[in-house]
């Protein structure tokens, strides 16, 4: 008996009502992602990449279709169960970092552990370890405004990793960074993937997508192509 795939999407649609109009952001997406994959989702602006990401991350629910996460049908779960899934199985990384501006790097990384109910001592140790693993062991007390863009994104990555999730979801993680910093972040993702994590990355830059081992192209809310990338590039080693 093999373990079920990490993510199975069947006929996922998402409609938004805009006044009298209905926007079909997703029009029937079927997708399977296995543990340990490194997937890039590409597509033009407005094609539904973020919508798909949010559904995979249990931040949003599909209008129709079935979503199995580690063999569990997520569509039927309530708020508390979904919150627990986001907390333990999902690690989000956003284009705009989305850190709490008044909290220190350490506090930001501790946040998921607070909702996981970890005791303060353990919380702190694990957050420090996560920050050290992204090369920010000397920036624990800094607040986001006191950090560079790349450093902020690394805090966000530490926060995504800290609960030991099944999957890292990154929506344009390099979108707000210069290309050099972007490459550093991609090198970090590569290492995280090497350590056994599953990564799903949304981007519209070919250079970024080529880091992944599988590239899924979306257009108008449908999967246009889904192909392995036989020659993934390995990002420059992390400059700490």
């Amino acid at each position: 008996m093999s373990t079920p795939p990490l993510i199975v999407l069947e006929g996922i649609t998402k409609h938004y009502r805009m006044g009298s109009e209905i926007v079909e952001a997703l029009r029937g997406v079927d997708l399977t992602i296995r543990r340990g994959e490194y997937v890039a989702i590409m597509g033009p602006s407005g094609s539904g990449k973020s919508t798909l990401m949010n559904i995979i991350g249990c931040l949003d629910t599909p209008t129709s279709g079935r979503y199995m996460l580690e063999g569990t049908d997520v569509s039927s779960l309530g708020d508390a169960a979904l919150a627990a899934i986001r907390n333990r199985k999902i690690g989000f990384v956003f284009q705009t970092f989305n850190l709490l501006p008044r909290a220190t790097a350490l506090k930001n990384v501790e946040l998921p552990l607070i909702y996981a109910g970890a005791p303060p001592q353990e919380r702190r140790q694990r957050a420090i370890a996560a920050l050290e693993s992204v090369g920010l062991g000397d920036r624990l007390r800094h607040k986001p405004p006191e950090l560079s863009g790349g450093q902020r994104q690394r805090v966000a990555i530490a926060r995504a990793l800290v609960t030991g999730p099944s999957i890292i979801l990154a929506d344009e993680p390099t979108g707000n960074l210069d290309s050099k910093t972007g490459m550093e972040i991609m090198a970090l993702f590569h290492r995280i993937w090497q350590e056994g994590n599953t990564i799903v990355l949304v981007t519209h830059e070919e250079d970024i997508a080529r880091h992944a081992h599988r590239i899924i192209r979306i257009r108008d809310g449908r999967v246009e192509s889904d192909m392995p990338n036989p020659t993934p590039i390995v990002g420059a080693p992390l400059l700490v």
Partner: protein, 417 residues
């Protein structure tokens, strides 16, 4: 359990942080609650003071005592009518006492108001001289702070001895002991043999400005017929008061020779007559207090609700972030509820401090004129005030907190201020 605790600790901490981040705004918003709590506390304090005054009145006058007097003490009767009543004479008083069957004991007294008394170097005016009997001194409710009451022998021999009220002592002697000193009433010397403890209350503050002398000595100064006599009758138990009142009414009417259809030309006074006065004052305090309190809490609730709505909008992104990393709707709800509640509790604590200060100042300033006021805020009032403020916080914070909890996390994350 531990898991919950660590979450609550964090929720608490983040509430404190966000209130601190907007200190001025938080302070201004909680003023309504602050004033509301101050009103509640002061109202409670006034009511408690009133109750204490009532208790003391009851114990000074005695719940088993009736006082037959030309005057109605409750202040309700028509002044002119009472003025025109014939005095109750000593003969009538003695006749009344002789005929009573159910009274345990009786004594007589007569008062001269607005008197001036002197010592060698000081004078006190506005004094009540009360001629009374040794039996008054033997009542359980007649306690002395110092010295003793006069005896039957001293009474019968019209001895020139006096027992003075607490207020008289402070006016004439300050902190010195007055026992053995001499005061002059209408020029006649009286030796002080005893001092009463504080007895006056809201309704009977004159008690502390009273000097008690033997009734025959009183007659010696003011004459036998110039003043109306008060007949005090003690029931064997408070339960027998009604029986005694009935008998007393009949006996006094007979002694005063009233025809059957005539109205009473006397009043039978008792501690109870002040109950209605207490009730009236209570109603006024309640009406004013509740009105002002409700108004300030209403202002407080509106202000806090408003500020919480603003806070929810300001922190939309934060809410999105928290939801993305695993916060439940209920956690968000709790966070904002707690914030609103803390605003209120902070306001309440300041309100309690302010009203406590007001109490101190008022009791210090009005020590002589309103000494029935309790010197401190009763602690249970403080508890009630804080409890009320928590309720107000939950009330004011609920709708904004619900809105925060129900935000769509995707939209919240996309929100840019």
């Amino acid at each position: 359990m531990r898991r919950m605790l660590s979450q609550y600790a964090d929720i608490f901490q983040s509430a404190v942080e966000s209130l601190r981040a907007h200190l001025l705004r938080s302070t201004l918003t909680s003023i309504g609650v602050m004033i509301g709590v101050a009103f509640v506390s002061l109202m409670g304090w006034a009511l408690r003071s009133l109750d204490a005054a009532w208790e003391r009145t009851l114990s000074t006058l005695g719940s088993d005592m009736l006082y037959v007097d030309k005057w109605d003490w409750s202040g309700q009767g028509n002044w002119r009518t009472m003025m025109n009543r014939k005095n109750i004479t000593l003969d009538q008083a003695e006749e009344i006492a002789r005929r009573l069957r159910v009274a345990e004991m009786t004594y007589f007294s007569a008062d001269a108001w607005g008197q001036t008394i002197t010592t060698a170097d000081r004078r006190a005016s506005g004094i009540v001289i009360e001629g009374t009997m040794a039996r008054f001194g033997m009542l359980p409710s007649t306690q002395l702070a110092e010295g003793r009451f006069f005896s039957e022998l001293e009474e019968r021999t019209a001895a020139a001895v006096a027992v003075i009220g607490e207020g008289v002592r402070t006016t004439l002697f300050g902190n010195r002991s007055p026992v053995g000193q001499t005061i002059r009433i209408k020029g006649r010397p009286f030796v002080i043999i005893g001092v009463m403890p504080k007895r006056g209350t809201l309704f009977s503050d004159f008690l502390d400005r009273t000097v008690y002398i033997p009734l025959p000595a009183f007659f010696g100064i003011y004459g036998r017929y110039s003043r109306s006599i008060t007949v005090a009758a003690k029931a064997r138990s408070p339960e027998e008061l009604d029986v005694l009142r009935d008998e007393l009414t009949g006996v006094v009417r007979a002694v005063r020779k009233l025809p059957p259809q005539a109205a009473n030309d006397f009043a039978i006074n008792e501690a109870e007559v002040f109950r209605q006065q207490v009730a009236n004052i209570r109603i006024v305090i309640w009406a004013v207090g509740i009105g002002l309190t409700a108004l300030s809490f209403l202002v407080g609730v509106i202000g806090i609700t408003n500020v919480m709505f603003v806070a929810v909008i300001e922190r939309t992104k934060e809410i999105g972030i928290r939801r993305a990393v695993g916060a439940r709707q209920s956690t968000i709800l709790l966070q904002f509820l707690l914030e609103a509640t803390m605003l209120c509790v902070a306001g309440a604590l300041v309100g309690v401090i302010v009203s406590g200060a007001i109490v101190l100042v008022v009791t210090a300033v009005a020590r002589d004129s309103a000494d029935f006021l309790l010197p401190v805020l009763p602690p249970e009032i403080v508890v009630v005030a804080v409890a009320v403020s928590i309720a107000v916080g939950i009330l004011a914070g609920f709708i904004p907190a619900l809105r925060a909890a129900r935000l769509d996390p995707v939209e919240a994350l996309r929100y840019e201020a």
